[in-house]
Every structure is written in structure tokens, then in C-alpha cells.
Symmetry: C2
Subunit: 459 residues, 2 copies
Amino acid sequence: MQRVRIKKLFESPKEQEIFLCAWVRTNRAQAQFGFLSVNDGSIITNLQVVYDQKLENFEEISKFRTGVSVAVTGKVVLTPEAKQPLELHATKVEMLGDCPEDYPIQPKRHTREFLRDNAHLRPRTNLFNAVFRIRSVAAMAVHSYFQSNGYLYVHTPLITCADCEGSDQMFKITTLDFNNLPYDEDGKVDFSKDLFGKQAWITGSGQLQGETFAMAFGDIYTFGPTFRTENSNTQTHANEFWMIEPEMAFCDLEGLMDIEEEMLKYVIKYVIDNCPAEIDFCDQFVEKGLKTKLTDLLNAKFTRISHHDVVDILLKANQKWEFTPNYNDDIAKEHERYITEYFNGPVFITNWPKDIKAWYMKLNPDGKTVAAVDLVVPKAGELMGGSQREENLDVLLKKMDDLHIDKEGIDWYLDTRRYGGCVHSGFGMGFERLIMYLTGIENIRDVIPYPRTPKNCEY
Amino acid sequence: MQRVRIKKLFESPKEQEIFLCAWVRTNRAQAQFGFLSVNDGSIITNLQVVYDQKLENFEEISKFRTGVSVAVTGKVVLTPEAKQPLELHATKVEMLGDCPEDYPIQPKRHTREFLRDNAHLRPRTNLFNAVFRIRSVAAMAVHSYFQSNGYLYVHTPLITCADCEGSDQMFKITTLDFNNLPYDEDGKVDFSKDLFGKQAWITGSGQLQGETFAMAFGDIYTFGPTFRTENSNTQTHANEFWMIEPEMAFCDLEGLMDIEEEMLKYVIKYVIDNCPAEIDFCDQFVEKGLKTKLTDLLNAKFTRISHHDVVDILLKANQKWEFTPNYNDDIAKEHERYITEYFNGPVFITNWPKDIKAWYMKLNPDGKTVAAVDLVVPKAGELMGGSQREENLDVLLKKMDDLHIDKEGIDWYLDTRRYGGCVHSGFGMGFERLIMYLTGIENIRDVIPYPRTPKNCEY
């Protein structure tokens, strides 16, 4: 008999003989029969297995501990009156792998800290079963959105030798022996002896390479791991995370916002449709009202307003600010919160002061602001950041000169403006931030399988 | 009018007024009319735009050079007699971005070497338009196969501090200043001052972490970038590439082969169905017979044969070998070629000598071989490698002792055998190798957007 997965049973409940493999979550043994609650990881829901004295190894089964892996043959029985629509009446239960009494994941409440210290076992809990299933399905949703809209998925390189992107925030990589480094005449480490013949880093963004592909394929996206060296121990920082960076030719700031909104709604709907049990679980145990928050966003009108006008509203607000709103400054967390409540929904904040945004962003006709946009959403703050890119080579070169950015190393990038350049735009979305939004989880360490943070690189 | 993409036009040819943006590939201007061949990156096929004297900027359009970006408004006219099913009769043609005469990508044949030196512009050629489109669609096919079969996509970490995996082949990463390194009392570099408080690398595999997730979710896969420090300048080696590593609980070697075969056929069919023009192009200009090769594989019976029996066949062959086949050795390229021709199709070679395979592979009852399997396919050699894993903790520990593998750093991994362990299996597939197989491209540098190889880390 072919092994079935539990999700399939719940998807189309019917009486049938089946065979499955799973792990025991609990075992309630009584004198003449007993109940195993088992999970095979295909869905957060556990399946109830009923076993009785007729089984020759009844005594043995009665002693199966939490964590044991089992093979079960039996008959699916529909139970319309019960909490679950079906249960499995076992005709055979076999232990595949034992689990000792000291198994850390007992059927009780564990703290998130304890589970972080057992990151290799926490996927076996309901919470992380739900979180990592949602993460997986959300990743598929991202691919599905872009591919069905004709975007090219491009694997931009992670290793880079161009340090124009802020190498102080990048990890250095090397094949040299740290305790036997070669030095040049000036007493500096001689990277000409390294694998690439020069100093190399792992990059924090694929945007520049992404732009070169957008100039050939029109619409492209990246989706891959990203690294920052930030020595920051907060709930929202990790040194390794995943990022999505779409880039669209022939697309201006308004078009960019259309895409961001459509993509976000698509991903949320996809996850709600494909992970109903997992979303319900998070709604119940992680963030009360999660499901309403998500469906509200699906139906929300996204406000579009300039940074200037946002500061106007903030200054007029009858509110005591920790950080005084300023036309030349960034928007603080408290401001983001206020403005999403003010508009009762997601807000695109556009046209930011040029001095606080990146050099490649499109200078607006006012000469003071750039065509950048941050999307802030209720309860979570900034979810995406993007901009129209400066397609005018002269303006871009002047900006790079002003900021002392090395042009030689990225002359290839400037070719996108020399050869058939056009209006184009792109954005970046931190994937973990999206997962935190989708699950209600507040600490980034709990949405990454094996998080890397300062002083923390276990597993 | 909303901008349409050229692929849509070819997908459902009909007379309509449209607006599009694209890049000029060629311009054949005559006295009273002219033809622009334009491409917008949505499909390899170019669209013919007819323009004539009635346009007020006719003279200007006549001078548009290759590479210019344009916005075109006009009427789609069906041309059932012509090579292409439709053309666009322009009512308005506007230049968006000029392109100078020295544009390197002229409409003529360029060598692959020249295009590697212009990696940021090569996506604008037909060849790389096809190759990178196939790469993108194949990536989607991989996700689609695993997700539709209930697998969990897991982002295993790239940064690792466990050097059990062969740290000599891994890049070291650091945030320390190379020219001002801290040293400990013994005069060694003091990594306790580094971001993670110890020496760190970027890993070459997510398998071990993947196994921990398979023990919770049943079926999982990874798909992400991978790094090797190999100082090797061949057609098939790169220092950065992408890899897919599925891992399945309750799955033995036979089940593993079923999955490998099903997945490969699914991906190939998906690419043929979704990139017909691109596959045709590669068939015509890269590998004659490519399409037949791919459809043959779809219909092929995959042979399953042990390493021992393969060596038997090789030794009996009336053939002069460069490397003499040996029951204790690996299979050489020439042997792979012979054996796929012998069976006229793909071959799973199973049960390899334990000493030439990895420590975590399942020891067979003979005590000499492990339950490993390599899939070799006609014309491309090895495409995937996998194994059943050693689920018996005692056997595994002994193997680790014999090979002096540090157990302390990966005690978490051993927990998969302590707590509800089970028969499980997994494989790895180099994504670039798959793309080379799908396109006929012979050099790995030509299937990676920005390849990283020794002494080569541009862009």
C-alpha cells in the first residue's frame, strides 16, 4: 500500500484503508484501547489514531512515548460529530524509531527562548510547524506572482569584488590562511594571492546586477539570501536573511506602487488560501486578530502621499513625539504607526529628501527630493522600499561625484544608462519581515530556520 | 493605453490597437517606409514594427540604431503568410533612450568569450535571452514540483561555524580588519573578537540542517546558492552556483530514485511546455537534437543497476579505457558515457563502495557498500547524487570515529537519530548542470548570470 500524507486525508475525507508514517505527539493509553495523536509534518493538524487490544502489540503501543516515529495501517473513519472530521482505526502500528524520556519537545508549553536553544527540534512543535509552513508557502507565492506575470527570476551573484555598495556592512571572504597571510611590499595583506586575485565580499544586494537584467528582460526579480554585518541585537535584525528585489524597465514610481500593492495582496491571499489551518493557529496563539488584519489588507485602499505631506500631518497631530517630525529627516517608528492609523490602512510614502536616500534614486524636478517610496502597513511598519532609478547618466554621474562613489568598478552598471536606457524602477522586500507580518511573530529569530545574529551561529 | 508585452501578442494573435516599449534589434530603413525589429525581453522572438512616411518623425526613426529603447503605438496586423504570425503597424514611434554607435551588442555573431567579457550586456543577445529564460522557468519548475507534492521549502543557513563539512573547501568569512587583526596569547587570530565570536565559513551544503527539518515536516527541499573554493578552471566548475537538496523521511533508496526520476521528467516537461521558442532556438543554434534528447528522456525507462554490476559491464566491454574500471573506485566520465549508451537511456548507479562516499550514507548489510545512488544521463553524465542516510546512531557514530569527524559541533544533527529517527533519504542536484543539460550549453560560465571562477569576480 502506498504511504499517504495526513494533509491529503483532511483535504478529502473519505472512508478508506491507508498506510502512513508519522511521529507521535501524545499517547493516551487506557486499559482496552488508546489514542495516538500523530503528525507527519504535511499539515499542522494532528491525526487521531485509535488502537485497541485486538492488536498483538497493544501493550507495546501503550508505552510509545512522545517523539516516537511510527508506521500505521488502518481504516479512515469519518467522525462528523467530533472536532476533527476523521480518525484512523489502526489494524497495525509499528515503531520505526524510539524516543527516550529526556526528549526535549514534550507536549507542554515551551518558551520561545528554550526553543531557540533547540532550533533543530523546534520544527516539531505546532508553532514552528505553522511558521515554517507559512514561510515555505509564501516563498512559493512570491515566485508564482512574478512568474505568472512574465518576470525573469535572476540569480544575481553573492560574491562581489566591487566595494561601491558599502563594504563596511559586508562580510569579507577569503581562501587565505588567517594564520599565514601573505603581505605585499607595503605590509598590507596581499589579496592578489587570494582565489579571485583581489579582496572579495558577500554582497547585501543584487539590485545593480538586477538592473542590467531588467534592461534586457524588462521585468526581473531576485530572491535569495542576503548578508549584513550589523552588530545589532534587536528583534528585527539578523546577519543572514532573504530578500526579494524586483526591477522593472519602462516603469515609473506610480507603476512601481501598483506592482507592490498587487504583489502583496497576491501573496497574502495565496497564503490564506493555502495555509488556512496554519493561519488559524497563529491567529489563536500568536497574534489575536491576525486573520482580520490580513483580510483587511486585502480589501484596503493603499494611500499614496508624499513625505512632505506626511510630515505636515505629523506636525499638526495633537501628539507628543519622541522624535520631532522633520521635512529633512527619516520617519520614525512612532510616525509610521500614527500615519497608518490616520489613514486606517497601508500608506505609500513617496518623494523623500534626497540626502537621506540612496545615490541611484531618481532626482525629482524640485531638485530636493527623489522618487523613492516606502510602504508602511498597520502594526508592522515598513514592509518594502523602492524607487524609480536615475536614468539620466549626467545626473547620476554628478551624484556619484558628490558622494565620492568609485565609478571605475561599476562602469558596467553605468552602461545601462548609455545603451538604450529608460525609465525604470525597483524595490526590495525583506522576506522575514513579510513572514513576521503573515504570522504575527515579533522576533526575527523565530521566522528563520537557523538564525544568525551577533555571537550566535550555532547549528 | 496600458503597455503590453510582446509575449502576450504572440500567445493570442489578434488585430488590436496596442502600446509597447522595447529595444531595437535591427532597423531596415527604406525611402518611404522601414522595419524595426524590436524585443522587450518577454520572449526570445522579435516583433516586426512597420513604420512609414506618414509618421511625422519618419526621418528620425529611420536613423534609430541597434540598442535604442522605444515606445511604439500601433495596430497589430495578422500576417498568416509570413514567418511571424503578426506585425505591428506603427502610428507613433518615440525614442526613450539613445544608443551610440559603439554599442558592443551589434546584430552579428559574437564569440562566447567576447560575451563573457560583456556579461552585463549579453542578456540582450538571442542566445542569453533564451538561456536565462530557461534558467528562470526551470527554477519555477523545481519549486512547482516540490510544492505541489507537499514538500516544505526550507532556507538552510549559509553562514556556518561547524567545520565538520570540510572547511578546507569553504570560504572563510569575517568582519575583522585584515590589516589590523586581533591575536590571542598563542599568536593565532582571535576570532572571539569576530561578529559570531568564532571562526565562520559559508557552507557548501544545507543537507545536515535539511535532515533536521525532514524529521519534522517529512518532505523538504532547499534551493539556494552554494560555494566552493576549488581552484579549478574547467568548463563545469564555478565557485558560486545554485543547488537543490531535497530530503525525505520514511523514504528508502528505491523511493529516492522514484522521486528523482519523477522530478527530472516534471522539470523537463515544464520547460518544454513553457519555453517552446527558447528550446527551439537552443536546438537550432546550441545543440542539434536537443529537443529530441529531452523528449527521449521524458519517455525513457531509467535503468537501476548496482555499481558492482556496472563495473562488470565495463570490464567485459570491448573497449580501451583511459581509466581501468575497478570495483572499489569511482566511475569515470568515459564509463558514464558507455553505460548510458549501453542502456540507451538514463541510469541510476546504486550501492557504491563505502570508502569513496560520504560518512552519513547508509551502510548496506554487506558491510562494504552504501545505499548511495548517482543518476547519469546520456550526453551529460552525472545529474544528481543522493543516498539513504545512516539512521542507526551506533553505526553512524562508529563511522564518524573511524573518519575522525568532530561529533561535538554537530550533536544537534545526531539528535535526528536519537529522537524518533527513521529511514530517510535525500539527494543533491547542481542547478547549473541541469540548465546545461536543458540548453546544450557546455560551459558553466554561460548559464550563470555573473559567474565566479578563480581570478574572475567582475561585476
